[in-house]
C-alpha cells in the first residue's frame, strides 16, 4: 500500500481518497466551487461502521476541514494579504500561529507559577484584623443576630396560630434564595423583613426562607439594616462590588 490518503469519497466531480482531493484542490486541479461538500460528508457518514477507525475518522475530519477552508476562501472575495506571509503556504503559517499561541500560553503558565510562589509567601503574612468599628463594609448594619432571631420568632408564632398540615412540598433553600433575590430586585428601596413571609406560609416555608436569607447574607448578596433598635428590619439587594 502507498501512503494513506484518507478514506475514499465519492461525489460529483471527484472519486478517490479525500487526501487526494485536498491535494488537487490546493494545486488548483479541482475547482471546489463545483464540489458539494455537504454531499461528500453525508456520503462518508453513511459508510461509517462501528467500531470507528479513529485514525481514519481523524484523517477525514482534517481533510474535510481543509476543504471547507479552501472552499470558503474561493467563495469569498479576495482580501489583500500582506506579501511576506502569503508565500510559503498556509500550513507553515498555521503552524507558526499555533506555536506563537502556545508560547503565549506558556508565558502565562509561568506567570501563574510566579503568582503561586508569591501567594505562598503572602499567606504566611498576617495583619492585625480591622476592628469592628473600622471595618469597611458590614452586611449587618445596626442589626444583631438576636434581632434577626426575635423577628424570626415573631413570624413563627404568627404562623403557629393556624393549625395546618405541613404538606410534603419539595421546598429548598436554593428556591427560597431565588425567591428572596427576585423579591428584592423588584424593590430597589428595600423590603421589610416580615414582608418575605406570607401569613399563610407553612412553618417549613418560614424556616427554609429564613435559612435562605441567612445564606444570602453570608454570601453578601443581601444587606440587612435596622434604623433604630427594635425598629423594623429592612432588606436590600446588595450591590456587588469588591
Amino acid at each position: 500500500m502507498t501512503e494513506r490518503r484518507g478514506p475514499v469519497v465519492r461525489v460529483a466531480g471527484f472519486e478517490g481518497p479525500i487526501g487526494e482531493l485536498v491535494r488537487k484542490a490546493q494545486a488548483g486541479e479541482v475547482d471546489l466551487r463545483e464540489v458539494h461538500l455537504a454531499e461528500l460528508v453525508q456520503g462518508y457518514l453513511k459508510t461509517l461502521r462501528q467500531p470507528l477507525d479513529l485514525e481514519e475518522v481523524t484523517e477525514f475530519l482534517w481533510a474535510a476541514s481543509a476543504l471547507a477552508e479552501i472552499k470558503s476562501k474561493a467563495l469569498l472575495p479576495p482580501t489583500p494579504q500582506p506579501e511576506e506571509t502569503a508565500a510559503p503556504g498556509d500550513e507553515e503559517d498555521l503552524a507558526r500561529r499555533l506555536e506563537a499561541q502556545l508560547e503565549e500560553y506558556r508565558s502565562f503558565r509561568e506567570a501563574a507559577d510566579a503568582l503561586a510562589a508569591l501567594e505562598a509567601v503572602q499567606r504566611r503574612v498576617f495583619t492585625r484584623p480591622a476592628d469592628q468599628a473600622s471595618a469597611g463594609e458590614l452586611p449587618l448594619v445596626g442589626v444583631t443576630v438576636e434581632d434577626l432571631f426575635s423577628a424570626f420568632r415573631r413570624v413563627l408564632e404568627r404562623s403557629e396560630q393556624k393549625v395546618e398540615e405541613i404538606p410534603a412540598e419539595g421546598i429548598t433553600v436554593a428556591d427560597r434564595m431565588r425567591f428572596i433575590l427576585r423579591a428584592l430586585r423588584g424593590a430597589p428601596e428595600g423590603l421589610e423583613f416580615e414582608a418575605l413571609f406570607e401569613p399563610e406560609s407553612s412553618r417549613l416555608v418560614v424556616i427554609v426562607t429564613f435559612l435562605a436569607l441567612l445564606e444570602l447574607v453570608r454570601h453578601r448578596q443581601v444587606r440587612v439594616a435596622q434604623a433604630e433598635p427594635c425598629g423594623p428590619i429592612r432588606l436590600y439587594a446588595a450591590r456587588l462590588e469588591p
Binding site: 508565558s107 502565562f108 506567570a111 503568582l115 503561586a116 501567594e119 503574612v125 495583619t127 473600622s134 469588591p242
Partner: protein, 194 residues
C-alpha cells in the same frame, strides 16, 4: 517641623497609623494625615521598615501603600493562634487570574482564547473572592463584560502595584501590561485608615 526630633515623632506617628489601620494605608493618606509630602511619607516608611529589621513584625509595601504585618518566618506560630488565610487558589484559577492581571481589561472570551479552555467558573470564583471585578463593558456587539484585578489582588500577592507583577515570558512586564482605563465609580474601594 524639621530635624531629627521631628522625624522621630513622625516615624512613631506613622507606626501608630499602620497598627491602628490593620491593612495597608495608601501613601497618599499617610502623607495627608502626617501633613508631609508623599515622597516624605515614603522616606519615613522606609526608615520605619529598616528599624523593624530583626523583629517579628515588618513594614511591607503593598497595594500602593504600607502595612504593618507579621514576618512569614513566624507564620507557624501565628496560625496556632489565629486561623490560616483563605484557601490557596487552584492551578487553573491562578492561570485565569494571571491572564486577567496581565491583559486587563479583558473579556472572558479573550481569557479563554489564551488558555484554550473554558474559564467562566474560575472567573466567577475570582470575582467571589474579590480578586477580580467587572470594570466595564467593551463597546461593540454583545458588549461583553471586561474584567480587571482589584486592590485585594495586590494585597493577596504582596504586590506594590501592577508594575510589580513578575515579568511575563522574558519580555519586560511593563511592555506587556496594558494599563486599565479609568472606570466611573472609582477603583479605590479598599482604602484603609478610615
Amino acid at each position: 517641623m524639621s530635624g531629627p526630633a521631628a522625624d522621630h515623632t513622625l516615624r512613631c506617628a506613622l507606626e501608630c497609623l499602620l497598627l491602628a489601620s490593620g491593612g495597608p494605608v495608601p501613601v497618599r493618606r499617610l502623607a495627608e494625615v502626617l501633613g508631609v509630602s508623599e515622597p516624605e511619607a515614603e522616606r519615613l516608611a522606609g526608615e520605619l521598615a529598616q528599624s523593624y529589621e530583626g523583629r517579628g513584625l515588618m513594614v511591607q509595601q503593598v497595594a500602593g501603600g504600607y502595612q504593618l504585618c507579621t514576618r512569614p518566618e513566624y507564620a507557624d506560630f501565628v496560625t496556632r493562634l489565629v486561623s490560616a488565610q483563605a484557601e490557596p487558589l487552584s492551578r487553573a484559577t491562578l492561570e485565569t487570574l494571571a491572564v486577567v492581571a496581565y491583559r486587563q481589561p479583558v473579556t472572558r472570551a479573550e481569557v479563554e482564547a489564551i488558555r484554550g479552555a473554558r474559564s467562566d467558573h474560575h472567573l466567577r470564583k475570582l470575582v467571589e473572592r474579590h480578586l477580580v471585578r467587572e470594570v466595564g463593558r467593551r463597546p461593540g456587539s454583545g458588549s461583553p463584560i471586561l474584567y480587571g484585578t482589584t486592590d485585594l489582588f495586590l494585597r493577596h500577592f504582596g504586590l506594590r502595584d501592577l508594575k510589580d507583577l513578575p515579568p511575563l515570558g522574558g519580555r519586560r512586564v511593563q511592555d506587556a501590561l496594558v494599563h486599565p482605563s479609568p472606570v466611573p465609580g472609582g477603583a479605590d474601594s479598599h482604602e484603609g485608615g478610615r
